[in-house]
Amino acid sequence: MPTEPAMANAPVHSDSATPVLLEVENLAKHFPIMRGVFRRQVGSVRAVDGVDFQIHERETLGLVGESGCGKSTAGRVILRLYDPTAGRIAFRGEDIGGVRGESLRRLRQSMQMVFQDPQDSLNPRMTVGSIVGEPLVEHGVAKGTALDERVDELLNAVGLSARFANRYPHEFSGGQRQRIGIARALALEPEFIVCDEPIAALDVSIQAQVVNLLQDLQERLGLTYLFISHDLAMVRHIADRVAVMYLGKIVELAPSDELYREPLHPYTRALMSAAPVHDPELEAARERIILTGDVPSPADPPPGCRFSTRCPMATPECSAREPEWRELRPGHRVACHYAGDA
């Protein structure tokens, strides 16, 4: 029985001295809305609408936000599963926003994804061995006995027995399936992995195991993560820095301790106040900010600040002018006219 790594210590803070691995600038992804007999475009869903951030080598950037704010879309555009509508994606300094065909296939070796739904992300008709081995076969990395050996190695690396290679996904529990998905993502020895809510579909008791596995692998293999989640406590645990997303835009980005200690954006504060804290003292002191109203449609975002329709601090200025993306403290950016004033 593989021993689970003990609950890892607090994340090691990457100093911004490690080189930048991934940089996105003004990245946008709009999905066209087609209507009518002639399938004419009548508008677009601005799922991601101009986001900027950098991820350093060996760092974990957390991406949090409500359902539908565009987190998955952001992750998928970065991995070029969607074509970006606008903006720049640079991986190791190279612009990858427009690569296609064979060069895109080669790029996929260095960037991988772990999916949200471990049930849906494994082909029910393939054995675990062929699922984990598929990337190796597709890129001609290994075949024959070398392939089998590598698959066994990968299964062991994620804490599964190599005996499982002949079984089918439905024979496993959710946590085990997610491990299979992780093994597949590791097969090509990528540098960067987008984890799209990898634990959201799992039992609470299993979540910590999978998170620990991810952290353990990061340390051993020197991985860089974009960790998407709506579980603030989990993100705090795993991420070095955290970006908060609202309606297609990043509204605040800061080192995780600082963000949790002192959120500057009204939306971040509301999110924090809604999430229970594990520390009883903090929990007692927690003020609750109840947001009213619904999230506006990403097809028709409000003018000015996108949060203005629900912001408890909104002024007429807010819906007139879009707030700048300001660096208020070193490494702590926020998009709000009044952040830091109070």
Binding site: M1, P2, R76, L79, L81, L104, R105, R106, R108, Q109, Q112, M113, F115, Q116, D117, D120, S121, L122, N123, P124, R125, M126, E134, P135, E138, H139, S161, R163, F164, N166, R167, Y168, H170, E171, F172, S173, G175, Q176, G181, R184, A187, L188, D203, S205, I206, Q209
Partner: protein
């Protein structure tokens, strides 16, 4: 810990996929009965003429509309031809037409459906063509095709092969549309599943995604179409024969026997019952075999 239950499970030896499929298929009672009935029909049709040596075309004027007897186990028709001999000879052709036409229609339908569902840029064109085929007045079209090509094909390939190919082709190209539509719908749904996105994120080439991830997951509707396709082909062939567009009159098929027999239903009802029974049994047994195969091919239903 629930996570680790499988770690303690007994070691499983290496099993081959087809072994698994066969073991599961064997447990499907309906499918086994289906295989039995179908094998019986096929063997009868292939070997029967050697055991029951009467020429299906021989006119025994003395014994017209004869009832069941030792010399004519299924009786005779109004011209004194032996029914059993006709059934056996007709079965060969009906089964051959049914299977080949079904295969053709299945390949066309699946191909069009998968391409339209998976490749968005082909969707419009392919589905419009499918609608066009559905909207075509088929009967006049068939008439024209057969009129145009019958004699050339007969001259080139001999009367039997020529008309066989023509009929299979005509049935095939006029019956793939339902399959195409159903398969397209399934593919559209499968395409949105995360394992397809995962395959793309790995860098799997499009055609491998189709072959490895999409096609195996649309097996069920394809199997259903296949079993219905055989029935449809056998019946369409009889309709064509009835209109004088199919095989020549001295060439019995189950469909033709059924139609011819219908005129004499009050005198010799057996002439309708036997071919009808043969067609129904074939369709039913193929249906059960298809069911069994579909279940056996699905690892979730295989219960490994």
């Amino acid at each position: 810990m629930a996570e680790q239950t499988y770690q303690d499970a007994p070691l499983h030896e290496h099993r081959s996929l087809w072994m698994d499929v066969w073991l599961a298929f064997r447990n499907h009672k309906g499918a086994l009965v289906g295989v039995g009935v179908f094998a019986f029909i096929v063997l009868a049709v292939l070997l029967g003429p050697f055991l029951h040596g009467i020429d299906p075309q021989y006119l025994d004027i003395q014994a017209r509309n004869a009832p069941v007897s030792w010399s004519h186990p299924l009786g005779t028709d109004n011209l004194g031809r032996d029914m059993l001999a006709q059934m056996l000879a007709g079965g060969r052709i009906s089964l051959a037409v049914g299977f080949t036409a079904m295969l053709l229609s299945l390949v066309l339908g699946t191909g069009v459906g998968v391409l339209a569902g998976y490749f968005k840029r082909l969707d419009g064109l392919l589905m419009r063509s499918t609608d066009l085929f559905l909207a075509l007045p088929l009967l006049p079209l068939l008439l024209v095709i057969i009129m145009l090509f019958r004699d050339t094909l007969r001259a080139a390939l001999g009367p039997e092969t020529g008309i066989f190919l023509l009929i299979v082709f005509v049935i095939g190209i006029t019956s793939w549309m339902q399959t195409a539509r159903i398969v397209r719908g399934e593919v559209l749904a499968i395409k949105e599943r995360e394992f397809v996105t995962a395959a793309r994120s790995i860098g799997t080439r499009e055609r491998r995604i189709v072959a490895r991830h999409v096609l195996p997951n649309v097996m069920s509707p394809i199997m259903v179409s296949a079993t219905l396709g055989i029935a449809n082909a056998i019946i369409t062939e009889s309709a064509l024969s009835f209109l004088g567009l199919g095989f020549p009159p001295d060439f019995p098929t189950w469909g033709r026997l059924l139609f011819d027999g219908a005129n004499f239903i009050s005198i010799t009802p057996a002439r309708v019952i036997w071919p009808g029974l043969a067609i129904s049994l074939t369709v039913l047994s193929v249906n059960y075999i298809g069911d069994g195969l579909r279940d056996a091919l699905d690892p979730r239903l295989r219960g490994t």
